[in-house]
Symmetry: C2
Subunit: 497 residues, 2 copies
């Protein structure tokens, strides 16, 4: 057996471990009963240990290193697989197995504790877990690269090539251009949401509309499903098993509708990655930022557009004739783009959204600069909410406990949300030129938009970098000015005309 | 580290593999999308291969053998753990790893193909898979014990100590006592089901009643859940994660109601196994037959009793006032015990049920005696249906394709269903003496019955054999005459008075 074949064999086994750990995590996040987690966390950490052993075995290292140093006989794709494998080894190898296993156990458990803390609105319940996780993350960053700033290590994990310097530049635009503009719009916001926005919408009918949206966005139901969970997310193991979740709030229809379209953006991306990558480490979206660009694009550019509701409000009215009586597409569109100061990131409007991310970015930066005590985190959070959104946080569930990410150790993830929105804006200006975008949306031909994005973005999986994709698609590297421009054009039109 | 500690460590890892494979199987059987199975089957077979390697490693064998030969320092429970481990090694070791992995891949895949064949009513679609599975099972039986009758190998797997000779004796009573009595009852059966039995019952309300039944039977919802699937089943990984499924047929309420009570019987058993066994190989019910005795007991003895419906018909009527208008507990009880010739085992009444099992037992016996060609199986099935139930099977979905078991290789499992019903009858005669059974059911105090069964049956897990449990509880070894007596008393009372 030649080196590359043996590499593929070992990698297949890695993927088998990823699959079973992935299914377990899907189960944990959607339905596993509360009492099972102590046992489960311990058992899963053992499986993670086996995965670690496989991914750091001498044989695997030798093969990858040999192919990395001597790649002549490999195809371009194979070279990329090896580069990725090499990078993954470099990430995992410096972490001792005991730490890896213990960390896996910790985050499996902490997520449940976070959930409980949030439900009880009790930061102190979560604090010891958060403290341990932060300690672990700092230690791991140091193990991996003692010279790097620890936060940079994680920023790069979630978006290759990004670091604090680049993000600082990006968030400067959020702070200096988007924040003041948002202030202008907030000054003239609709003080009250329209009646229909706060009416009661029974869950079952919301569910039916979710199923309808899957068809509208041409999601392949043979290769995935929609389920309910507390925190909406998308999950996949390969292009033929892509799932997403939403939650149904009976007194807030928009929550499930726009979460569904958002997650469908992620899910379409995964379903459209070329199946040739299923058995490789290049499967899945190019990066977190690129992924988020697609979810944001579908949610905000497609889903919160007037033509979208010209096409689909009739269906929604059939399901909710009483609640939506007399509402027209214009009104619905305006409500779907209602700007307001809100506590909860996932319910925030498109315009104030990056401010929520800015807050998290600044706090995470402080955490990893070691300037912060976990005891002080809620106060810091609340202060920043006051500063950027002029809101007084009254309980941790509407402040620091609202997001799942930290309980799973995902520091450095949040910034990709804003970055993705910015990618989406840049991509949008190209799409407007290349496709008859509004007509396609109005005439319910989103499959045509899917095809375009498949060809330009999705099909490549991780075989191209975000930068390569952006340059090929839009003709220039990432340029955050498109983001400011897009938001200003859209919201000026709605609120400042 | 001493031998037993090292044994526990290796066993914990085995349990971790069982956990992830178990979660994957739960997912496969309840919601995984259709297109994911080729990839998934291949990947799970690799994990099965890792499990195999662990369970047959030289180190593990040596430790188990040493402790098995020299058990003085072990506690009674530890001795049982080692005996079980030794037996498990003896079962798995003769199967070569390639066969084990390939077989795992095959059954993961075949289950989907069976589902499709059943949906399309196309036996030929399933035939090649069935043929391969039978071939594999015969080969494996030979590998494990070339001198034994292959069917005996599997009968013993599902019910330790049982073989064809013993089952022949048991089924003789089914044939010679129960079948003729069933004929008598069928001669005077209610020709038509009452109106309310075939009315329409919306799914959502059925679901609500399912949740209600969980409370009635004192199922701990923190340690499990109820979900929907095509084929009702119970699943668990340890006493703190016990799940079961039902399906909802809008035109047949009894299907979900009695499936729920049946599966709750299995589930209560698992929840009541002492948690000290969670981390051992003695967790879970004593045997398939003992398990089925509990599900049958709750379903038929508790759930299909008059006092049960005196207590719970009011709740059902609240959910379905229109459908159940004017129906009283007597009528409901009679309908719940309606005897009829039916095609589908899982919908069969208690009295004709063992005839369905008899058919399967006889066919499986023939398969492993090598007298049968898979081409002929449907005809043989249909002939036996005519012989024992006087029915003409018109399509494979109401005949040979109705059950999932063979698609997963579980030959030898069916007989435990009838055996369990017989255990249940024997246990019932003791319970009637020891508890004020009817009053407890009528006064909605099933928790008291649970406590009794926990103490006498459930808590032991596999640390006692079915025989030990039966003798301690009922004062005598298994005696199938109780089964005939129970059925005759109950159905004489309803139909032949």
């Amino acid at each position: 057996m030649n080196g590359f074949d043996r590499f593929k064999e070992l990698q297949k086994k890695q993927k088998a471990y990823q699959l079973v750990l992935g299914i377990a995590s899907w189960d944990s996040n959607t339905e596993a009963p509360k009492a099972c987690f102590p046992y489960r966390s311990e058992m899963l950490s053992l499986i993670s240990g086996e995965y670690y052993a496989l991914s750091t075995s001498e044989e695997y290292q030798e093969i990858v290193n040999a192919l990395h140093q001597d790649p002549e006989d490999l195809s371009e794709i194979q070279k990329k697989e090896i580069r990725k494998a090499k990078k993954d080894i470099d990430k995992i190898l410096p972490i001792p197995r005991e730490d890896y296993v213990e960390y896996s156990r910790l985050v499996n458990l902490s997520q449940r504790e976070w959930e409980e803390a949030k439900a009880k609105d009790d930061y102190d319940h979560f604090k010891p877990y958060l403290e341990k996780i932060i300690g672990f993350r700092k230690k791991m960053a140091h193990q991996r690269d003692p010279d790097a700033h620890p936060y940079n290590v994680f920023l790069d994990d979630f978006e290759e090539g990004m670091d604090m310097e680049k993000y600082d530049g990006f968030f400067r635009i959020v702070k200096e251009e988007i924040a003041p503009f948002a202030k202008e719009v907030l000054a003239v916001k609709d003080e009250k949401p329209p009646e229909f926005m706060v009416a009661t919408y029974p869950r079952d009918k919301q569910k039916q509309f979710g199923e309808y949206l899957m068809d509208v966005l041409a999601f392949d139901k043979n290769r995935g499903l929609l389920k309910e969970s507390v925190h909406p997310f998308t999950w996949n193991t390969h292009s033929k098993d892509v799932r997403f979740t939403v939650r149904y709030l009976e007194n807030y229809l928009f929550s499930s509708v726009f979460a569904a379209i958002h997650e469908l953006g992620h899910a379409l991306y995964e379903q459209q990655v070329d199946e040739m990558f299923d058995m490789t480490n290049l499967k899945s979206g190019a990066s977190m930022g690129m992924h988020e660009s697609q979810s944001r694009f579908y949610e905000n550019v497609v889903g919160r557009s007037l033509p979208f509701w010209e096409a689909h409000l009739p269906k929604l009215k059939k399901l909710f004739p009483r609640q939506l009586k007399g509402v027209d597409a214009e009104e619905f569109f305006r409500a779907a783009n209602r700007v307001d100061e809100t506590f909860i990131r996932v319910e925030a409007d498109e315009l104030t959204y990056p401010l929520h991310i800015l807050i998290r970015y600044e706090i995470e930066r402080m955490i990893f600069e070691g300037q912060i005590d976990v005891d002080d985190l809620p106060a810091i959070w609340n202060k920043k909410m006051k500063q950027y959104l002029n809101l007084d946080v009254e309980k941790p569930s509407q402040g620091i406990l609202q997001d799942v990410h930290w309980s799973t150790g995902m520091f450095g993830y949040f910034p990709t949300y804003a970055l993705g929105s910015a990618y989406a804006a840049q991509i949008y200006y190209t799409i407007k030129e290349e496709l008859d975008f509004e007509r396609l949306v109005r005439e319910d031909d989103i499959a045509e938009i899917n095809r375009f994005l498949k060809e330009k973005v999705h099909c490549y999986g991780k075989s191209k970098t975000p930068e390569e994709i952006l340059v090929a698609l839009t003709g220039e590297p990432f340029n955050p000015q498109y983001y400011a421009r897009y938001l200003k054009e859209k919201y000026r039109d709605i609120y400042l005309k």
